[in-house]
């Protein structure tokens, strides 16, 4: 009997709160009323949540754990939810995976600046592979045109057009260097970005709060922010997706190059490297001394960008 009466009481309280909230929301806006309205609104939302048993996807997303703290079942649930959301929004069935790092592998790029002719095939292959927003355009790779004999990145031009390579110019593609001592992961206040065992710095887009500290910390301008909801056509969506890499990003999160981990962790090459028509890009496992990247680092005169900062980048450049 007591339980019943308690339940009635709580029901009545909930009803009262709801009514109050409705009355407050119906009132014309006033400065004093704003805070009251806010509290009433929050209370009403809380009541609604408790009554519906937190079953809405929004609530699920809100209470979702950090990627590293989720169990396998929780991950399954989250992946199902993301697939469902994408289906609802774009009407495509995606194949959302989460490949683990390959044990013993360390990924690295080597880029021949003598061969790169700045045709930007990599930039556009990357955009298509990684479901990046077309408008506003989010691009991970930036190709900088520099005068031969100089190496001042500030004097480079990233907006060149026309026939390439131009006379007395060379081209320097820049993207995330997947540093071994990454400044970006250290400044993240919520640990939404971290370095994985295979050397890839990843972002949990559902955990990112969009503070953009990491963008300020990155010395290579590798990170991009989704100021708007990414704009994509249904036909433009790549259905081969992964949680930490190329699933369609929500608004207000930071993203960056992840060495196409949904491909590379399965043994394939990244999209930019496959698209490169000149063969300037080399990708491989630098932990294997016979791989081409390891051979290049051993035998060629390679350099990294901003070595003096001690970030230990994993993209090596060389001229030959």
């Amino acid at each position: 009997m007591k339980i019943d009466s308690d339940k009635n009481k709580s029901d009545r309280a909930a009803h009262r709160l709801k009514k109050k909230a409705e009355i407050k929301l119906a009132e014309p806006a006033s400065r004093r009323g704003f805070l009251k309205k806010l509290t009433a609104g929050v209370a009403a939302a809380g009541v609604a949540a408790t009554q519906s048993g937190c079953s809405t996807t929004g609530m699920d997303k809100f209470f979702q754990d950090h990627y590293k703290e989720m169990t396998a079942e929780e991950k399954e649930k989250v992946f199902a939810r993301i697939s469902e959301d994408t289906k609802k929004k774009y009407n495509v069935d995606i194949n959302l995976k989460d490949p683990p790092p390959v044990p013993g592998a360390r990924f690295a790029f080597a880029i021949s600046l003598s061969v790169c002719n700045g045709n930007r095939a990599c930039v556009h292959a990357c955009v298509e592979e990684n479901n990046q927003s077309r408008d506003p355009a989010v691009q991970y790779i930036k190709v900088i045109e520099l005068d031969r004999g100089t190496f001042n990145l500030e004097e480079g031009d990233a907006y060149y057009e026309g026939e390439v390579p131009k006379k007395d110019k060379f081209y320097l593609p820049m993207q995330c260097n997947q540093c071994d001592n990454p400044p970006c992961t250290k400044v993240c206040p919520v640990e939404a970005t971290w370095k994985e065992d295979d050397g890839i710095v990843v972002i949990d887009y559902d955990w990112c709060i969009g503070c953009r500290y990491c963008m300020a910390a990155c010395p290579y301008d590798a990170r991009r922010f989704n100021f708007k909801e990414p704009e994509l056509q249904r036909s433009e969506i790549n259905t081969n997706q992964s949680y930490l890499s190329n699933r369609v990003r929500p608004q207000g999160v930071v993203e960056k190059c992840h060495f196409c981990l949904h491909r590379t962790r399965l043994g394939a090459m990244p999209a930019c490297m496959e698209a490169c028509p000149t063969g300037a890009r080399k990708f491989g496992n630098i932990a294997d001394p016979n791989s081409d990247v390891a051979q290049i680092v051993q035998n060629k005169r390679v350099f990294v960008l901003k070595e003096e900062l001690g970030t230990i980048p994993n993209i090596y450049y060389y001229f030959d």
Binding site: G104, A105, N119, Q139, G162, V164, A268, Q295, K300
Partner: protein, 185 residues
Amino acid sequence: MKTLVNHKSVFVALLGSMLLILSCHKPPHTVAESAAPPPPQKVTIIEREGRIRNFPCSECHKKVAPETMSKDGTKKHTDIVLKHFPGMNKCQLCHDPYNMDQLKRITLEPVSFNTSQEICGQCHGEKKRDWDMGAHGKIVGGWMGVAQKISCVGCHNPHTPGRPKMQAMAAPPFPAGGIPKGDHP
């Protein structure tokens, strides 16, 4: 005399906070050393013989005596433009007139079309060394397991080896309010 702060207590508090920081600060991820390394990349060179149009060259050339072949071969092969180095017009520098199905070194040793990089490496030794190590050229396939290497002639036409210019793909949108290169005072 009474001091405002007890030095001992400050020390203890400092030590405590340091311990707290150390305990909260997780060590960075490390690579598992014990794990077996991933299978290495097995690189094969893409074969050339199946890709040459009208390949067994001897099909036609058996009707042509080596002695009667023109020194300037582009008279019959009108699609071939010889633009390798100034004054280069001698087919028989690389092609074997007595067996058109293979190439030959300057030292007259035969070389198969499938290993034509040996011919190129006679002059371009540095590039050949880079190509051998993987610093030049393109590899298709994966970084783990089977991959294929494109040989010199996969990208460079041996008769006209210079690569043509390309049209750059669309530039990123210029930032609103930005000043184009060179327009800055």
